[in-house]
């Protein structure tokens, strides 16, 4: 590492050496620029996904590095979207990595004015307990005309249409088994 090396890194010196009178091109290039590469080349894996917004069903490539997302962009293989995305699809990275995402289960007690944090397991137990209590209290074996109905109208469900088919299937299956009939979805809205 001599003075010459140091000088060699000085673009003016490079200019003199190369006879570059304008310094508009690569003589003025920094080491960083010379070795620049897209962050996707550092990805551990590329996961095939589908855009969660509208129903066009655009393919997405999710680039993952060390369990974190590097980039999400259109999947050129998709015969539907051919790698293209709309602004929402293009913003998916922010949707899934944004700091708007809540990490804790929150609980608001009756009449409460603030959220409280709850451990997940406890919250699940509490919900199960409430389902049971409400179901038992509002169960109808028969309706007003004496016809068998086997149900509760005390509990209802409304699901978004960004849920997976598998999720919808289990929701319908469990709630039907519980006698909950008011199972509804964005599809009706």
């Amino acid at each position: 590492m001599g003075v010459l090396d140091l000088l060699g890194r000085w673009p003016v010196f490079r200019q003199l050496r190369k006879g570059d009178t304008t310094a508009l091109g690569d003589t003025a290039m920094s080491e960083r620029s010379r070795t620049l590469e897209p962050r996707t080349v550092r990805a551990d894996r590329v996961v095939k996904s589908v855009c969660p917004y509208c129903a066009v069903g655009c393919g997405q490539d999710v680039y993952v590095k060390d369990g974190r997302i590097l980039d999400i962009e259109g999947d050129p293989d998709s015969p539907i979207s051919r790698g293209r995305l709309c602004p929402k699809g293009a913003a998916t990275f922010q949707l899934v990595t944004g700091n708007h995402r809540v990490r804790d289960v929150l609980y608001r007690r009756p009449g409460g004015t603030e959220w409280e944090k709850l451990p997940l397991e406890q919250a699940m137990d509490m919900v199960a307990e409430r389902v049971k209590r409400t179901r038992d209290a509002t169960w109808e074996d028969t309706d007003v005309n004496g016809l068998d109905v086997n149900r509760t109208l005390g509990i209802a469900h409304l699901g978004g249409a960004t849920l997976d088919n598998e999720e919808n299937y289990l929701i319908k299956k469990l709630f039907t088994a519980l006698g909950i009939v008011q199972v509804e979805n964005q599809a009706r809205i």
Partner: protein, 896 residues
């Protein structure tokens, strides 16, 4: 999608997006495709570049209109008149595709003598029961066919008693007996159609829709010129058609038109239903809908002595594909109740809860507001912003004992108890709200695996990329572990009511520290398997009605054929044909275009070389072509069923619509529709004008919740609410905003709630561009920014000028960018077939300046009094016995 279901047999888009490129003319109506489905719109642009004519019919000049060759501004809520006008034009000028209509539709069928049309009854069909606001459909049936002709689409499967095979004993011949192939019989469908739309002339279109005759004729001509043997036209629609009190009939009208033009089941043709959410099609296929079981089987209704046999008897069709219902129903019960379900115990059919009417979310919210619902699960949904009459939604939430919200972040529905307009105004105090609220953070689509079903019925598997943060979990995790807990809680119970829960199969393998259930295992159950060896079946044709097979959703059967996750197939599009059959998996049986048998003529030859798609290979004696034939693969075109042929055997070689009992597409719907066998123009419940066609103003079968907290304006010409409003989305946001208003990259693009008004209205009301305005209805008010633009123009209707105001509905009171929600302005009214809200046409007022004093909210809606001497405006004509609705209302008031 009963509009499509009733007409063609399946409730899904008849075609796929890539096929739009083959169209010679594309009509986009009830959709703003370029804005709401920009990436799908590439196929429209490609068609345009290939020379197709692009027509956009819409109240506003949108980004779709900007690309169109022809943009036709129309009054929101008048599309049936417009489409009816096109039908009239096609019939009047004999532009229909005669061979297609004759062979593939029920045009030749003769309808019972007692049938009376809206032309006869001034807006009603025969059979209207004024007390219930419903139709008795007996007179709508085919002549000479006993009982009801069941529709292939879904809802109707239960709606009419006796619609199943119980109603009729004879085979397929019954449909052939009473036909007039000359189409001349005065009661044949074709003639009825002609008569029904007789008055839908260009002049009427101009009067009702505000579309000048010349423009209308341009559309009609373009459409006719681009339909036939050599050419095809496609329609694209979205919620601009469905969110009306006559929404299903909008789609029916388009279906009739497309059938007359011979555009269904052919490349470049069809009706493309554009869904707004990643898996909205999936949410109806594997329904989280109250009235359906997976695969469009009906939920059982409470009925004396209802058991599995009776259920099957009621719903099984004697002919057509639905004759397979027992196989699918039994397989479902086996999938759900496993070994406990045996032939002896009727496969535990009795475990299913029963319906006793409307249990849709519309009814639920009303019940909730009345304190009848105690617990509510909201998963990935934001009713406080996205559903109509937001203040009533929040009132409902306040009356709950407990609420579970699962989402990425604290959306309005989770924060209703402290961040709602009525709380800000001080009408309601947070401390007084007793609802217990659980918020569970949800995993994103990158943090879980599973399938979405897109708008073209295509299932696409997503792999999991990363772990969800913190306590965020998938819905699959939540529901599985909730079920596990409940099973444990009820484990010792001997009560009959707890039996179903004890019997339901709930053993999915889990993975990882979070014990995430395997979505693949669930998908395998949906696909179906043989009970004995748990071998995955290869499709629904493997399913049996003896309990030897199980399948969670028969139409998805085949998605895991050969033990391979077909939905995860990712063969690049460029390495396949343009149909790309090896990308994902489409229901049914990986067919990309439905009813594609109709792309060939009755003899099985392509209608033309240019529009070749699926045809009969006489040598191999099989149907073949670009796609999986949507037909019995080896049934020759000349096959004619025997007189007593039953089930699928009853489908002839020229019956492309295999789900239908008669194998034909329905121009006229003898059953399945709650509001008429033919579409009829009715005004929205709130309209600027009187119905120009009939004495009956509104859909007589519409669903309306007559409550004090759901005030409606006058039926027409309400002087307090003179303007027509329509709500919609913009490209930069997603529905109720839960997935866009928190993202800065999207929020900066459309940062504030705005309305769009014409320069004329701006001048009239003193609105300035970029300034503030307050929009009012009797349900609430909303402040927003004003965009003054020529993209909206007043329309001349029957001599009067009508102003339309556009209102995107993405904003709410939480998020990075905030406003009160536009859906707070909507009334609670709905289509009778599908209970979808009316949000595309209602009336209201607009004034310059910021928010009013806030005197109105759900709890105390006070509309200004009507000026004295305002003439009466009735939604229902005097033909309806007067007291029917009023007593109902009184009863409701008393209950309150």
């Amino acid at each position: 999608m009963p509009g499509l279901g009733i007409s063609f047999g399946r409730g899904g888009a008849t075609t796929f997006q890539q096929d739009l490129r083959n169209a010679d003319c594309i009509v986009i109506q009830g959709s703003n495709m370029a804005e709401c489905h920009p990436v799908g719109f590439q196929w429209v642009m490609e068609a345009k570049e290939r020379g197709a004519t692009l027509i956009h019919v819409d109240p506003r000049f949108t980004r779709t209109s900007a690309m169109a060759d022809l943009h036709v501004p129309i009054r929101a809520g008048s599309d049936i008149a417009f489409l009816g006008g096109l039908i009239h034009y096609v019939l009047e000028h004999e532009r229909y595709f005669k061979d297609y209509v004759l062979h593939y539709t029920n045009a030749a069928n003769i309808i019972r003598e007692g049938f009376q049309d809206t032309e006869d009854l001034d807006g009603f069909f025969s059979g209207y029961q004024s007390e219930e606001g419903k139709y008795d459909i007996a007179t709508w049936q085919y002549e000479g066919v006993g009982g009801t002709v069941p529709a292939g689409g879904h809802k109707e499967l239960y709606a009419e008693p006796g619609a199943g095979k119980g109603g009729d004993e004879s085979g397929s011949a019954r449909f052939e007996a009473n036909k007039d192939s000359t189409l001349q019989h005065p009661r044949c469908v074709f003639q009825l159609l002609k008569r029904h739309f007789r008055r839908y002339t260009p002049a009427i279109v101009a009067k009702v829709c505000g579309v000048p005759e010349a423009q209308f004729l341009k559309v009609a001509e373009a459409l006719c010129a681009n339909s036939g043997r050599e050419r095809t036209s496609a329609f694209c629609y979205a919620v601009g058609w469905t969110q009306h009190t006559v929404g299903v009939q909008y789609i029916r009208t388009a279906s009739i038109l497309q059938l007359l033009l011979g555009n269904i089941g052919r490349p470049g043709g069809g009706i493309m239903a554009l869904r707004g959410h990643a898996s909205i099609q999936g949410s109806t296929d594997v329904p989280t809908l109250y009235n359906l079981l997976p695969g469009y089987m009906p939920m059982p209704h409470a009925k004396q002595g209802l058991d599995l046999d009776q259920y099957l008897e009621d719903h099984e069709a004697s002919t057509g594909w639905w004759s397979n219902l027992p196989k699918y129903a039994v397989s479902l019960l086996k999938a759900w109740f496993g070994d406990a379900a045996t032939k002896e115990n009727h496969f535990l059919f009795g475990h299913l809860p029963r319906l006793t009417g409307n249990h849709s979310h519309m009814q639920t919210v009303a019940d909730m507001a009345d304190g009848r619902v105690k617990g509510y699960f909201v998963m990935g949904e934001n009713p406080a912003v996205g559903s109509s009459h937001g203040s009533l939604q929040r009132k409902g939430l306040r009356e709950l004992d407990w609420l579970v919200v699962r989402d990425f972040t604290l959306i309005e529905t989770a924060e209703f108890w402290r961040r709602a307009p009525e709380i800000q105004r001080g009408d309601v105090k947070t401390e007084d709200i007793r609802t217990e609220v659980f918020f569970f953070p949800a995993a994103a689509h990158t943090e879980k695996e599973g399938t979405f079903t897109n708008t073209q019925r295509l299932l696409q598997w997503r792999d999991k990329a990363v772990e969800p943060p913190g306590d965020a979990r998938s819905e699959l995790h939540f529901i599985y572990h909730l079920g596990r807990r409940l099973k444990a809680l009820y484990a010792g119970s001997k009560a009959r009511k707890d039996q179903p829960l004890q019997d339901v199969t709930w053993d999915y393998p889990t993975r990882g520290r979070a014990a995430e259930p395997s979505a693949e295992a669930v998908l395998q159950e949906i696909n179906g398997y043989t009970v004995a060896d748990r071998k995955l079946v290869s499709g629904f044709s493997d399913l049996k009605d003896d309990g030897s097979t199980a399948s969670g959703c028969w139409i998805y059967s085949g998605c895991y054929a050969n033990g391979v996750n077909q939905t995860a197939r990712r063969k690049p599009g460029r390495e396949q044909t343009w149909v790309a059959p090896e990308w994902g998996w489409a229901w049914p049986a990986n067919r990309r275009m439905l009813y594609n048998r109709a792309s060939a003529d009755p003899e099985g030859r392509p209608w033309s070389e240019r529009k070749k798609y699926v045809w009969w290979d006489a040598e191999k004696r099989r149907w073949t072509g670009e796609d999986v034939p949507d037909f019995i693969a080896d049934r020759p075109p000349d096959y004619r069923p025997g007189k007593d042929a039953r089930g699928v055997d009853a489908l002839g070689g020229t019956d492309p619509f295999i789900m239908q009992v008669d194998g034909k597409a329905w121009l006229f719907a003898p059953s399945g529709m709650m509001d008429g066998p033919l579409p009829t123009h009715y005004e929205p419940p709130e309209s600027p004008v009187e119905n120009a066609l009939y004495g009956q103003q509104c859909n007589p079968a519409r669903l309306e919740w007559r409550r004090r907290d759901v005030p409606l304006h006058r039926a027409w010409a309400d002087p307090r609410y003179p303007f027509v409003f329509t709500t919609y989305r913009v490209t930069e946001h997603h529905t109720a905003g839960g997935m866009s208003r928190w993202l800065s990259w999207l929020s900066e693009l459309q940062p504030e709630q705005f309305c769009e008004v014409s320069p004329e209205l701006a001048a009239e009301r003193g609105l300035t561009n970029g300034g503030w305005a307050t929009v009012r209805t009797a349900r609430g008010d909303l402040e927003c920014r004003v965009l003054v633009t020529e993209r909206l123009r007043p329309l001349k209707l029957n001599g009067t000028w009508v102003h339309q105001i556009g209102l995107p509905y993405h904003w709410g009171v939480t998020g990075r960018i905030r406003a009160s929600g536009a859906n707070d302005l909507l009334p609670l009214v709905a289509d009778p077939n599908v209970e979808i809200q009316e949000s595309k046409a209602f009336t209201g007022d607009i004034v310059a300046g910021r928010h009013a004093t806030g005197e109105r909210s759900a709890t105390s809606a006070v509309a200004p009094a009507l000026p004295a001497g305002t003439p009466e405006a009735r939604r229902d004509s005097l033909r309806v016995s007067e007291h029917a609705h009023d007593t109902q209302q009184e009863k409701l008031e008393q209950e309150r």
